[in-house]
């Protein structure tokens, strides 16, 4: 097992960074995946490998801008898998959501209730404008 599992963000998929040694998992960005199952399955498999040996702490951060329902379903599977495997391991979860995005906050609360772990909810500034700007640049370069 390598030290880090990493997937770079695309326009419709989030960045995933799983640092096994430090027990840190961060998923951030937009998740509009059409086939979310195939996208998240490798991460779920890696979590199984990670928990094959007892761990003392896992530190997770979710930072979604958008989450479509097929992705929400897979995050539910991920949360439930952690619940199954954690054993004595302490689970720390930070759930970041963009300013005023109460829907995203609500999603975090659903997962928190499911995992029976209190999440640390953090409101962040909206990144929307930045994203638009980058897309614009991308397209100008392309043409």
């Amino acid at each position: 097992m390598e030290n880090v599992f990493y997937i770079a963000a695309l326009e419709d998929s989030p960045e995933i960074l799983f640092d096994y040694q430090n027990g840190k998992l961060c998923i951030s960005g937009t998740s509009w995946l059409e086939d979310a199952y195939s996208f998240y399955e490798p991460l779920l498999n890696n979590l199984k490998v990670y928990f094959a040996e007892p761990k003392s702490l896992i530190d997770i951060e979710f930072k979604f801008i958008y989450l479509n329902t097929s992705s929400a379903k897979q995050i539910a599977r991920l949360i439930s898998l952690i619940g199954e495997l954690k054993g004595e391991c302490k689970v720390k979860v930070k759930w970041s959501y963009e300013k005023d995005d109460l829907e995203m906050l609500k999603m975090g609360k659903k997962y928190s209730a499911m995992l029976k772990v209190a999440f640390d909810f953090v409101e962040t500034d909206s990144e929307e404008e930045v994203v638009d700007y980058q897309e614009g640049v991308y397209n100008i370069v392309k043409h």
Binding site: E11, D12, W32, E34, D35, A36, Y37, Y66, N68, T69, S70, A72, K73, A76, R77, S80, E98, K99, D100, D101, E103, K110, M114, S126, E128, D132, E135, G136, N139, I140, H143
Partner: protein
């Protein structure tokens, strides 16, 4: 205005969808044309054309004409900033049987009509050699209009398409008119321009009607073609830049749009059927501060009853009951379809729109399939 009681409206959209064949494209955008929006509007058309099995050279020419067309709107459009006239401009591309039709429309001042007409008539009267000569002349004597024009763009459109330009001018009032400009491009050959597709429904006078329909129904965008993740991302980019309002209202609309379009991607697949039509149609309108999103796609007759029951059930639930139902589905991992998809999309659309799901089924003309239409309106 937007309900199914308006039979004429419904029939028009359904006819539009039915007339769009499996590999065809029917796309119209109406509204502002900022630099940023232009890129996104073109990108959706480009992604579609890129898939076509035509020569790269012809693709490049089509892109070139699209760019010239869209620039004509902002270059020659005479509408006052922020006026209603400004948002009546449109860009449209249709593809049918290897023919591509690019049409734009914008406001011009009546006192410029004569000059524009004589320019167009002159360009249309020239053969290709004369056109090259005229191009060099115009380029050389540098009589560029203050907006950079002088008709070079128009000459380019004829040179690249190998076809004459069609146009139509409709008077709006004593000051301004609406100017429609239309190019036909054959996707097979440019060497000897074949007879123009005069019998196509997408002639300029049809486009005038389509534009009228779009304005009457406050439609911002119609898209009927292949639905996949690529076209979804382009559609979202257009709407992100087109919509005004608070970030969170926009996010809500974008999220609903994703669910609706992915419903077509998942369920509107006609590849395996005998239906010789496109997957579906998506359109969005802005009516009295409400964004209304509609999709129509094919649904198997045998699935229609299940779908109907499911929507009726979702509509029958109170907010609290719906919340429970959503959570139940979210954490249901008992194999089958729910394992991967969850069937959460419709519940999510209902939750986010805060309105009951409006839907209907129509005859598709195919014995095994119905047309399924769903509309969601969101206050901004």
């Amino acid at each position: 205005m937007y309900s199914d009681n308006n039979i004429a409206h419904r029939d028009f959209v359904i006819e539009l969808m039915k007339s769009t064949g499996k590999d065809d494209l029917n796309y119209i955008y109406r509204g502002e044309f900022t630099q940023n929006l232009q890129q996104h509007i073109l990108s959706l058309a480009e992604k579609n054309i890129d898939r076509d099995k035509i020569s790269g050279k012809i693709k490049k020419r089509i892109f070139h004409i699209m760019v010239e067309s869209i620039q004509n709107i902002s270059r020659h459009g005479d509408a006052k900033e922020d006026s209603e006239e400004m948002t009546s401009s449109f860009f449209s591309i249709q593809k049918e049987n290897k023919w591509y039709y690019i049409t734009t429309g914008n406001i011009i001042e009546n006192n410029k009509i004569d000059n524009l007409k004589s320019k167009l008539d002159k360009i249309n009267s020239l053969d290709s050699q004369e056109l090259d000569k005229f191009y060099r002349e115009v380029l050389g004597n540098g009589q560029l209009s203050n907006k950079g024009g002088a008709g070079l763009g128009l000459i380019e459109m004829v040179r690249k398409s190998g076809n004459k330009l069609s146009y139509q001018i409709e008077k709006v009032n004593d000051e301004v008119s609406f100017f429609y400009l239309h190019s036909d491009i054959n996707g097979i050959t440019l060497e000897e321009a074949p007879a123009r597709a005069e019998d196509s429904i997408y002639a300029v006078n049809y486009m005038v009607k389509l534009h009228r329909f779009v304005l009457d129904n406050s439609i911002l965008l119609i898209y009927s073609a292949v639905f996949d993740q690529d076209s979804l991302l382009s559609l979202i980019s257009i709407m992100k830049n087109r919509m005004s309002g608070a970030v969170n209202s926009k996010k809500k609309i974008i999220s609903i749009m994703v669910e609706m379009l992915q419903n077509i991607i998942h369920h509107g697949n006609v590849e395996s059927t005998r239906i010789n039509g496109c997957q579906g149609i998506f359109y969005i309108s802005l009516i009295e501060g409400k964004y209304c999103l509609t999709t129509i796609n094919y649904a198997k007759k045998s699935d229609a009853e299940v779908l109907k029951q499911k929507i009726d059930y979702i509509n029958s639930l109170s907010d609290e009951e719906r919340e429970d139902y959503y959570n139940e589905r979210l954490f249901d991992f008992d194999g089958g379809e729910s394992f991967k998809e969850g069937g959460l999309g419709l519940i999510e659309i209902r939750n986010k729109s805060k309105n009951p799901l409006e839907y209907s089924f129509f005859d598709s003309g195919n014995a095994d399939y119905m047309l399924f239409k769903i509309t969601t309106c969101i206050n901004i």
